[in-house]
């Protein structure tokens, strides 16, 4: 056999307790806490959220403290490149374009414009952050209306069922068939560009996804309705919808809303680019980009800066929304 040093009590029955085997620790944490934990693990998503928070903070506070407004025209200071107080010592962002000190030219030696100025001498730093405010405002407004319309439509369609549901879904199919581009441009064209018309253009098709999600939940609930009939006696329909449907769809609605924001920001900028943006002197990211584009080879900063902010926002929202989606519904990532 083998040379093993046997102990004296080796061959006696072990008097161990019966429940000594692997027990899985199934501690029940709340669903939301789980989501939060998973989200936090996703470094990209957290980074995205931080960037968004940072930009939002700048959008809210920077214009207040810049000492300038978004529409004050100072023609003498037109088309100045960025000049940042401390950084300029390092040799860039010091107000020069190809060696020429534009600030000296404009007799503005002691003045600093962190993002430079546009062709009318307006401070781009303030304009940029005010523009971000407006872009975000439009996006949020559209998102809220999306949610309201989407959920209502979905609930009604799912709850009423039958012919009404069929008709409503047919309507959706046809609406979906019309490309967003066409609807958006035609709408803003007809209604004259402005905050409201752009918002309408955004939510006119944005709610469809949400309504489908809500409708699916309502249908699922209806199937169980008869089983729960005795338990729900006396519960009003509204309460039923609120208690049974809402918690289940909340996750997906949040995710869809998160994704709708970069889309809204993009659409607004796109409209501005094709001439259907907000009117001057209003500033939005799209307006700034469109304005800046006109001189983008000569003064790239005018288009580069708002573009960078826009790209950062869109990227961050997308990554964060992706992270949220994974946090709500983790898929197995390893083979």
């Amino acid at each position: 056999m083998m040379d093993v040093a046997f102990r004296k009590d080796d061959f006696e029955f072990a008097a161990r307790a019966k429940d000594e085997y692997d027990s899985l620790d199934v501690s029940h944490e709340s669903f939301w806490k789980d989501v939060a934990v998973r989200f936090m693990k996703n470094k990209g998503a957290v980074l995205g959220a931080c960037i968004i928070a940072f930009i939002v903070a700048l959008a809210v506070f920077a214009p207040m403290f810049s000492g300038r407004t978004y529409k004050t025209v100072v023609i003498e200071h037109a088309s100045l490149p960025p000049r940042v107080p401390l950084v300029e010592k390092l040799g860039f962002m010091n107000g020069t374009v190809e060696g020429v000190d534009r600030y000296a030219e404009a007799e503005a030696k002691g003045v600093h414009y962190p993002f430079g100025t546009d062709t009318l001498g307006r401070d781009l730093w303030t304009r940029c952050w005010v523009g971000t405010r407006i872009s975000l405002y439009i996006a949020l407004l559209a998102m809220l209306i999306d949610i309201v319309i989407g959920m209502s439509f979905g609930m009604v369609s799912g709850f009423l069922g039958g012919k009404v549901d069929l008709a409503m879904q047919r309507f959706l199919e046809i609406l979906n068939g019309i490309p967003n581009l066409v609807i958006v441009t035609l709408l803003v064209l007809v209604l004259r560009p402005g905050i409201m018309s752009i918002t309408i253009a955004l939510f006119i098709k944005g709610w469809i996804g949400m309504s489908q999600v809500v409708r699916a939940q309502v249908l699922k609930l209806k199937e169980q309705e008869y089983v729960l009939a005795s338990r729900t006696l006396g519960t009003s329909t509204v309460n039923l919808l609120r208690r049974e449907v809402l918690p289940n769809v909340l996750g997906q609605v949040i995710i869809m809303s998160m994704f709708s924001i970069p889309n809204a920001i993009f659409t607004e900028s796109f409209l501005a680019f094709i001439g259907l943006g907000l009117q001057a002197p209003m500033a939005s990211l799209g307006v700034l980009i469109n304005d800046g584009f006109k001189s983008f080879l000569v003064y790239p900063h005018m288009v580069a800066i708002p573009t960078a902010v826009l790209a950062a926002l869109m990227l961050s929202f997308n990554i964060m929304a992706d992270g949220l989606r994974d946090a709500f519904d983790p898929k197995m990532k390893e083979m």
């Binding site: 102990r7 080796d10 061959f11 072990a14 161990r16 692997d22």
Partner: protein, 362 residues
């Protein structure tokens, strides 16, 4: 039943395999020793997670990419038509070599779920012909003829027409027959069947097992059955190895293990066989859950669930004890110094009734 010349064709020694997962290294196989002889039918039995599928995949060389063979050898011995023998150590071979020399050609596999084992965008005919054309360079017409023969062999009607169909046009039972045909297409020495009937209807199950037995008689192929179903084992196997937590804990000829089981885990498994006599009042059951293979543990992995565990079971893993004939048990209970323990009463009665019913083939 005993073949006159017991020719060893597969020899597994000290096979130790781990998988790299995000939760750590999963130690799936912890030292396996097994032999396979030509013409035999061997069954490897165990719960999910016991390591039986890993063993099968290791033999074929198709472990998933995060698998590592830590140590051991799998030696396959092939005797060519002219009598010349060649030995291949599958563990030492590169993936490319294994694919081109072993897979399909010498050792073939039948998978568990016929609904997902076939490529949905390839016709049945082409899937059967593929291996033949690759391994032996057969021409398309040769391969087609052979494929139709195989389809007939596995009991599929109208082979010509079936060749041109896609998998989703066939039922589950028929698909499994196709999988068997694919496995046989290159005349392998060894056929590994990984739970071949688990995903099928009960009536179809019996027919598939019959089919495999039939084919064995016709082609003398050696079969390894991987299963958790002792009923299947009883019907088809000559030799059985019981696995638990990555180790073989009992093995032997089928009568030895079924009529004289020595390991408490085997007792638990046997108790799960359908009781045709209906005499059992209390079942001998195994409490607890299978061990988490991410952990290492000294001693016998089964000890925490074993009411008859000895102190040494928590200290040292039991070696294989020879308890007669081909019967081996990895349990300290087989050591001469351990207390004598007999079969639980309920199980003994069961086995008696099974014996008297002659449920097992001789």
């Amino acid at each position: 039943m005993d073949t006159p010349t017991r020719e060893r064709i597969l020899s597994i020694r000290d096979l130790d395999i781990s998988f790299a997962t995000s939760s750590g290294m999963l130690h799936a196989l912890r030292g396996i020793k097994l032999d396979l002889f030509r013409g035999e039918t061997v069954a490897i039995v165990g719960e999910s997670g016991s390591g039986k599928s890993v063993t099968a995949k290791a033999i074929m060389g198709i472990l998933s990419s995060n698998g590592r063979i830590n140590s051991g050898s799998i030696v396959y011995r092939h005797v060519a038509a002219d009598g010349g023998a060649r030995e291949y150590d599958i563990v030492r071979m590169s993936q490319k070599e294994v694919r081109s020399e072993i897979c399909g050609k010498r050792i073939a596999m039948v998978f568990q779920d016929p609904m997902t084992s076939l490529n949905p965008t390839m016709t049945i005919g082409r899937q059967i012909m593929e291996a033949m054309r690759y391994h032996y360079g057969r021409s398309r017409s040769e391969a087609r003829t052979r494929a139709e023969e195989l389809l007939a062999l596995v009991g599929i009607d109208n082979p010509g027409r079936r060749m041109r169909q896609y998998p989703n046009e066939l039922s589950g039972g028929m698909r499994q027959r196709v999988v068997i045909a694919i496995a046989l297409s290159c005349d392998p020495d060894i056929l590994i069947c990984d739970e071949p009937t688990t995903a099928l209807d009960v009536t179809v199950q019996a027919r598939i097992l019959e089919l495999i037995k039939d084919i064995q008689e016709k082609t003398r192929v050696t079969v390894i059955y991987i299963t958790h179903n002792l009923g299947v084992v009883a019907k088809v196997a000559d030799y059985v190895a019981v696995m638990y937590a990555g180790r073989i804990i009992e093995k032997g000829a089928i009568e030895e293990v079924f009529y004289d089981p020595r390991h408490p885990y085997t007792w638990g498994l046997l108790s799960s066989l359908p009781d045709t006599a209906g005499t059992a009042e209390r079942l001998y059951s195994i409490p607890g859950n299978p061990i988490n293979l991410l952990n290492e543990f000294p001693g016998d992995a089964f000890a925490p669930r074993n009411q008859l565990a000895l102190n040494i079971d928590y200290r040292l893993p039991p070696p294989m004890f020879n308890v007669g004939g081909k019967h081996r048990v990895a349990s300290w209970l087989a050591h001469e110094r351990s207390p004598k323990v007999g079969l639980p009463v309920e199980l003994r009665a069961r086995i008696q009734s099974m014996l008297s019913e002659n449920a097992l083939d001789a």
